[in-house]
Symmetry: C2
Subunit: 131 residues, 2 copies
DNA sequence: GCTACAACCTGTAGTCACTACAGGAGCAAG
DNA sequence: CTTGCTCCTGTAGTGACTACAGGTTGTAGC
């Protein structure tokens, strides 16, 4: 499998695959005689793992740790659990923040009478300290 | 007022103030004889406006537009309203996404029995396609 | 006047996770 | 043999900052 096939199979951009190699989350692959990268099924699975973790908001450092853990099936999964819990905490923090943003934004939009800027609640709200 | 005072009054990093000047969201200030920037109360208010908008998730391009609008009190505020509505849509999109992330993460964490990696639901969940 | 030391200046580079491009090589089909 | 696709490396760009290096200026204490 060359990089284009891996890209299609895993649904990940070719440039991103090369980036992941540089970033050390994908192993350096073997090369064909012409210098082209060769991949196997394991790489498709690994990319799936990476994309799923990234979609859940884990950064590449966490992905590296999770991948390393995955390769030690007999190790304790305390680390994996801790990383996931930290991510969950972060997601809940962002959720709370976004909910208050939504409240403020929808108030701003609802109160705008589409008149002139001088009376616009959107602009006025931005001029008001959030504290 | 020099840049350090503005920084303290507005609660914005000195480096960020200079960055905002380069980015064109803060006007180029007058200088003292020694080359230091001079600011006034209007700059404190403008920085407050910028920070509030940034905290609501508006990008600097939107902030530039909102600031330009703010300075034309007799213009129609349709643009301001449209920008705020777009931002509200974006916030709701991100909220929905984060809520499904939270669901998946909390399932992962809840099902982890803190045993070995081979049986870890966190790792297993990441190995499972989200589709 | 001398010596610290803080605050300021400019300009550049680093961050994160990609994305995009330039400029070139290799390969297959028509 | 030409067209067009895929691949290669290396570099630069994105957004919104943040962090430095290396220099000047201002102020306070002695």
């Amino acid at each position: 499998m060359q990089i284009g096939d891996l890209s299609r199979n895993a649904g990940v951009n070719v440039e991103t695959i090369r980036y992941y190699e540089r970033a050390g989350v994908l192993p350096v692959p073997a090369r064909q005689g012409n210098g082209r990268r060769i991949y196997g099924e394991a790489d498709v699975r690994r990319l799936g793992f990476i994309r799923h973790a990234r979609d859940l908001g884990f950064d590449l450092q966490s992905v590296r740790t999770l991948l390393a853990l995955q390769e030690q099936p007999e190790a304790s999964c305390t680390d994996a659990s801790r990383i996931a819990q930290a991510q969950l905490d972060e997601v809940e923090r962002r959720l709370a923040q976004l909910q208050s943003l939504r409240a403020e934004l929808s108030r701003m939009v609802a109160e705008c009478r589409k008149g002139v800027v001088a009376e616009c609640r959107v602009i006025e709200a931005l001029n008001t300290s959030p504290f």
